[in-house]
């Protein structure tokens, strides 16, 4: 019996079998069909997803897997999968910091690995501040300069990225473009400006790294390795400042490879550790008058269950590590408990 590992996020879908070349695509169902055609019929899969993604993302991913007839053994966070892959490949054990930078999201997780368990100690990040954030900051400035409208943003993003890439070899780059709305942009972007925007984003990533270390009650000197999954050049300075050591660059396929490794552990093909996860968002009830009642803090070991007694009109608010609301859900008044399953999905139960 074989089982696949699949990493899925806004960046795309990547499926693999342990120690095989991955299959990539945009559609989960198509990738599953291609992967089973290449590797043979699979009993199921372990999915990996960003640690700090929006609460609805995991639910949508599981729904998409159901629609594609995939038997999902477990949905684990990408940093846990990467730590498992690193430990499996190198035999290393200890506490790792895993930096998972995607196009639209960034997470820093501290993961403890030994022969019996891969335990996520803390996971902190931004669901809206990924590798594209620097380009977005440049787009915002360019849009303000030329009075661009919302429909011009994709064109601006393309030119911002080209200019940023051109700055690797030049001190400034010219941006001359007529936008779909008719506005004309003619300006030069200097390396100094681009560095300023990149620094603003990096500072926020560093804050997340420091917070993750604090939440895990750890210290940069106590870590055994810093693993970077993707966009390594963008994170070089973050790693140096927050962890004062070089990183181990694993590559984007490490997430799916780790999920595949866990899948082979779950079906009994090989022996290995269990993945123990934590919730990445806090939960609170918000009444009609905006008053909030905390229900559960972030970082609770999964699975978990907590009593909840909403009044009519109360809403369930998901809070990130800064206490900022990232998602809001309606709750029926007959709900008596909230159940956080082992996949990290919140279910309201009567």
């Amino acid at each position: 019996m074989i089982a696949l590992g699949i990493d899925a996020s806004a960046d795309g879908v990547c499926a693999t079998l342990a120690r095989e070349e991955p299959v990539r695509g945009r559609d989960l169902g198509q990738v599953w069909r291609d992967a089973t055609a290449r590797f043979g019929p699979a009993a199921g899969a372990v999915l990996s997803a960003p640690a700090g993604g929006l609460p609805g993302e995991r639910r949508s991913l599981l729904r998409a897997a159901r629609q594609a007839d995939i038997d999902v053994f477990r949905l684990i966070s990408a940093p846990a999968a990467a730590a498992l892959e690193h430990a499996g490949r190198t035999g290393a054990q200890g506490t790792f910091a895993v930096l998972d930078l995607r196009r639209t999201a960034f997470d820093c997780s501290l993961v403890s690995v030994d022969a019996e368990r891969v335990e996520v100690l803390a996971a902190v990040g931004f669901a809206d501040l990924g590798a594209d954030a620097v380009d977005q900051a440049i787009v915002d400035v360019l849009a303000a300069d030329c009075g661009a409208t919302q429909r011009d943003h994709s064109t601006l993003r393309l030119h911002a990225r080209r200019a940023r890439e051109a700055l690797a070899d030049a001190f400034d780059a010219a941006i001359q473009v007529r936008l779909p709305s008719g506005a004309v942009l003619d300006r030069r972007l200097t390396r100094h400006e681009a560095a300023h925007y990149a620094d603003q984003v990096r500072r926020r990533w560093m804050a997340a790294c420091r917070r993750a270390i604090a939440e895990a009650e750890s210290h940069p000197a106590w870590l055994d390795a810093v693993l970077v999954l993707d966009h390594a050049p963008m994170l070089r300075r973050v790693v140096r400042r927050a962890f004062t050591r070089p990183a181990v660059v694993m590559g984007p396929d490490a997430r799916a490879a780790g999920a595949a490794r866990y899948a082979s552990i779950l079906v009994g093909e090989v022996a290995g550790p269990l993945v123990l996860e934590r919730s990445t968002h806090g939960l609170c009830l918000e009444a009609r008058d905006q008053t909030r009642t905390p229900i559960l803090p972030a970082g609770v070991p999964l699975p978990a269950s907590v009593p909840c007694h909403p009044q009519r009109g109360d809403r369930l608010v998901h809070l990130d590590w800064r206490g900022k609301s990232v998602a809001v859900e309606a709750l029926e008044p007959d709900v008596r408990s909230l159940f956080l399953d082992a996949d990290g999905v919140v279910q309201a139960r009567p």
Binding site: L276, P301, V306, F339
Partner: protein, 212 residues
């Protein structure tokens, strides 16, 4: 492992007798239903008392969770997986409730038949708490990490003294209910102050870490 599954019964799958009230059947290895009557102390195999540390609780939770985690039972039936999930939830919830020292006291009070709501502190304790409250107010909005740390240590030491005294009262026979209730009020007061201080701490400590 005693304490995970109360009462001798029979395995729901192979009907072998469960002699030692284990969560796993010794004959077929299948996970048994959760006993909802177990209190958090019994669930984690601790005697009822307050002589517990966070490390003990973490280690015991991990030890039991690794045996009963639902991922161990992927190849088993749906019912077995549901039982494993219920065990994992029960273990995590028990550990979470015992990990917080004030909730740990309240759980124990509930089991001893005492009121679990912290009473108002005694006049002497109230005066001390107000003094600390004023000191905290003075530090609000000020970048005074060192002073807050000093205050937190002082309050933490008083909290610990109260907790240790309460642990001794609860362990003694017969139980001095009045003293236990009084100490719960004090301990809960100090704990609330510590949480307030922690929430205020926005300055980086010597490791460059920011709390909020």
């Amino acid at each position: 492992m005693a304490g995970e599954q109360a009462g001798a019964g029979r395995c729901w799958q192979c009907e072998a007798p469960l002699e030692h009230a284990d969560a796993l059947c010794a004959t077929c290895g299948v996970v048994q239903p959760v006993d909802p009557t177990l209190d958090p102390f019994a669930r984690l195999g601790f005697p009822r008392g307050l002589v517990l540390t966070g490390l003990d609780i973490r280690a015991r939770r991990l030890e039991r969770l690794l045996r009963l985690h639902p991922d161990r039972f992927v190849a088993h039936s749906q019912a077995a997986r549901q039982h494993a999930l219920a065990h994992a939830v029960a273990l995590n919830d028990a550990a979470r409730r015992l990990f917080d020292p004030v909730e740990r006291i309240q759980v124990l009070f509930g089991l001893l038949g005492l009121p679990t709501e912290p009473p108002d502190p005694s006049p002497a304790a109230r005066a001390l708490l107000s003094e600390f409250e004023e000191a905290i107010e003075e530090l609000a909005g000020v970048d005074a990490h060192g002073e807050r740390g000093g205050l937190a240590r002082e309050i933490g030491a008083r909290f610990q003294r109260g907790y240790d005294a309460l642990a001794a009262v609860v362990a003694a026979e017969p139980l001095d209910e009045a003293a236990a209730r009084r100490l719960l009020g004090e301990v809960a007061g100090f704990r609330a102050l510590l949480l307030r201080l922690e929430a205020m701490d926005t300055t980086p400590d010597r490791l460059g870490r920011r709390r909020t």
